[in-house]
């Protein structure tokens, strides 16, 4: 009380409501108002991190060259919490997520747009770290960020940083026909251990002390999809990165599109010991947990092992396995064979035990 009074009477601080400090270390509402600070943020931090010929013109729209093949277009928003987690961060996630969506749909990813929604007070050094990671992911997948937008919302209206990326790519023939064209006998392949991303984010968010700590699989599928298509392209029916809802959600969607039953064998599915331990402890099923660099591939009968050999020759998909096959429609759309006993139905995950994982 004494101190307070002293402050009130003993010292006057001039706080002009319109003045802006010359340098701030965090995002302010002024950064989003289109003035000098907005320009400074965009020029000195964003464009300088993502440098390319399209961004340098700084027009409101990117003018892109004509393509030979048809265009594929996708968009995704990223709200993961925490922003940094073992194996990745929101920046790399925002690039790989969109690149993977294009790649598994048969396109060569080319251009991305980038929208940042920043919360007032967000530290600029953290923004720099995210942009650095974003730039590195874009460079490694040879995509260019050609347009973007930045908005700042008042403190409390967002959680630090939200990102949206849209991506465009050129479809490369032969484009996999898609899950509606699945046939009885087709084989199902998973490109690596499942459930790593969801578990890594959960462990980081809740500060769960697991040893080993699960690492996110956050990464690009572009190389493995390209290799797979070059080698057995005509025998691939469909590919999908198994993000939210995990492998179970992809299988459900494919079963629905094809009207067939998809059967998998739990014992064939690669799961790291970290993910398995966490699943057992928390009562979660790795089949329901999100991935960010692991895909499911359906290939024609007899091509499963060949797909696995191609994938296993690449370091990022060294643990690929055939996990099941497509059957005539039974009573349920997706079945799983577990340790003992008969096949069981595999349901969609219900609600999410792990909110905001991507």
């Amino acid at each position: 009380m004494e101190n307070q009074q002293q402050n009130m009477t003993g010292s006057w601080q001039l706080n002009c409501p319109v003045s802006i400090p010359a340098e701030t270390d965090c995002v302010t509402l002024a950064h989003g108002e289109g003035g000098r600070l907005s320009r400074k943020l965009i020029q000195e931090r964003i464009i300088s991190a993502l440098k390319n010929e399209f961004l340098e013109t700084a027009d409101d729209a990117a003018r892109l060259p004509r393509l030979e093949g048809p265009l594929a277009l996708t968009t995704d928003s990223f709200v993961v919490s925490p922003l940094f987690f073992p194996g990745g961060d929101i920046g790399s996630l925002a690039i790989y997520g969109t690149v993977n969506d294009l790649a598994v749909n048969g396109a060569r990813p080319l251009w991305l747009t980038l929208s940042l929604i920043l919360e007032e007070g967000f530290p600029l050094v953290v923004l720099d770290r995210v942009l650095l990671s974003l730039a590195e992911a874009a460079r490694s997948t040879a995509v260019k960020i050609v347009a973007g937008d930045t908005k700042v919302v008042p403190r409390g209206a967002a959680d630090g940083l939200f990102i949206n990326t849209a991506g465009a790519g050129e479809l490369i023939e032969p484009v996999p026909p898609g899950p509606a064209f699945l046939k009885e006998g087709d084989e199902l392949v998973v490109s690596g251990p499942i459930g790593q991303h969801g578990m890594a984010v959960l462990a980081a968010r809740e500060q769960l002390q697991f040893d080993p700590l699960p690492q996110s699989d956050c990464g690009s599928l572009l190389n493995s999809v390209t290799q797979l298509r070059e080698r057995i392209g005509d025998r691939i029916c469909c590919l999908r990165d198994a993000t939210r809802g995990g492998v179970a959600a992809v299988l459900q969607e494919w079963a629905e599109s094809s009207g067939l039953t998809l059967s998998i064998d739990e014992r064939a599915i690669p799961v790291t010991s970290g993910v398995r331990g966490m699943s057992e402890l928390l009562g979660l099923d790795p089949l329901h947990i999100a991935n960010e660099g692991t895909m499911l591939i359906a290939v024609r009968e007899g091509a499963g092992q060949e797909a696995v050999s191609v994938l296993q020759s690449l370091s990022e998909t060294a643990d690929a396995r055939v996990i099941g096959s497509v059957k005539t429609r039974g009573l349920v759309p997706v079945t799983v064979k577990r340790t003992l006993g008969p096949e069981q139905p595999l349901h969609d995950p219900l609600g999410s035990p792990l909110p905001r994982i991507c």
């Binding site: 809740e206 769960l208 010991s273 398995r276 331990g277 057992e280 009562g283 039974g330 009573l331 349920v332 079945t335 577990r338 340790t339 003992l340 006993g341 008969p342 096949e343 069981q344 139905p345 349901h347 219900l350 609600g351 035990p353």
Partner: protein, 361 residues
């Protein structure tokens, strides 16, 4: 994975299954008490493999399922207050009270948080002195030591903004109430391994003596369960009624003394209302007089609500073994995990949810 794979070995499981079939001269009716065991039996296909040899009745052992609706309604009422943060374990959030679940309360603006340990709720109270943090303490004797520790920690830190809704339940009185009922068909019990890890199993001596039923302390992995079942069947075939421990790698006769001390320091045995069962004498725990300041019901005396019971749910018959979940006319139709009529369809350890997820194709 160590301590998992060796207890899930399919070849060993097949040997145990064969042995159970070989020893049985008739179909015996066993009850597994714990919801974790129910899930393991269905997930690993054991219940289906033993059809005709052993009938497994899925007991009341999911604490989330038996939590009184009045407690859930009370928690939801508290969540509506702008000065309160309600915390609990993830499962509890989805269970409907008579007027919605905590998850719905959160969607309508209430502050409801999942915690992984009761001590996280204490930490939350420490960080938010401007809020009242209420921990919804559910669970059997296995979780009670951790919530007791949270109360003691809050007292030590002199936190005036932390309190508990105590919904702890005790296994043995429920088993007693079950076998006292004239409709019961149980011939032997698989006792819940995790509860025995904390409480030991000495107290089952009297139970076995009094009701003349075999009790076998059993674990959760497929081989643990099969060994427990085999031990029950052997006793039944030999006309014996004994207390046996088939989970000795985790359970000792006297249990975990320091955990029991914590519970005794903070709680006292109390009569308790179990959802689906009704009133069970000595069926739960309540805070002792000296810890009353941490009782949310004392701190918020005006937040109770009358309970509107749902008469369509037949969970009592499921939990007492009178019907199997699929025999309920609403199972899988009006009642699914997305639209549960009763708690056993909601909780990840509930018998109805287990059937919905794992019942054979």
């Amino acid at each position: 994975m160590k301590y998992l794979d060796e207890y899930r070995d399919p070849a060993a499981a097949v040997r145990l299954l064969d042995e159970i079939r070989r020893v049985s001269t008739r179909c015996w009716t066993l009850m597994e008490v714990c919801g974790g065991q129910t899930h393991s039996l269905l997930r690993h296909g054991i219940a289906a493999e033993l059809e005709g040899t052993v009938e497994l009745i899925h007991g009341p052992g999911c604490p989330v399922c038996v939590t009184d609706q009045a407690d859930i309604d009370f928690a939801c009422q508290l969540a509506k207050r702008s000065d309160v943060i309600v915390t609990s374990f993830g499962d509890m959030l989805r269970v409907p009270g008579s007027q919605g679940s905590l998850l719905e309360a959160r969607a309508r603006g209430g502050e409801v948080k999942i915690v992984y340990s009761p001590l996280d709720a204490v930490e939350l109270a420490r960080r938010h002195p401007e809020k009242q943090v209420v921990f919804f303490a559910v669970g059997f004797e296995t979780t009670a030591p951790a919530t007791a520790l949270a109360v003691m920690q809050a007292a030590q830190d002199q936190l005036a903004n932390f309190s508990l809704i105590v919904s702890h339940v005790r296994v043995q009185p429920a088993m007693e109430s079950l076998v006292e009922s004239p409709e019961h068909r149980v011939q032997a019990f698989l006792a819940a391994g995790h509860v025995c890890t904390v409480m030991g199993y000495e107290s089952y001596d009297q139970f076995v003596e009094r009701y003349q039923l075999p009790v076998v302390v059993t674990g959760f992995e497929p081989l643990d369960l099969l060994e427990g079942i085999l031990a029950c069947v052997r006793q039944l075939e030999a006309g014996e009624t004994r207390l046996e421990n088939c989970y000795s790698r985790a359970v000792q006769l006297a249990g975990n003394q320091s955990a029991q001390d914590l519970v005794q320091e903070v709680y006292q045995i109390a009569d308790c209302r179990w959802r689906g069962f009704g009133f069970i004498p000595s069926g739960g725990l309540s805070l002792q007089e000296k810890w009353q300041q941490f009782d949310a019901r004392v701190r918020f005396p005006d937040c109770g609500l009358p309970v509107i019971a749902n008469s369509e749910c037949r969970s009592y018959e499921v939990m007492t073994g009178q019907i199997k979940p699929p025999e309920c006319p609403r199972f899988g139709k009006q009642c699914t995990p997305e639209t549960p009529l009763g708690a056993p369809m909601v909780s990840s350890e509930g018998a109805c949810a287990a059937y919905y997820r794992y019942a054979g194709v």
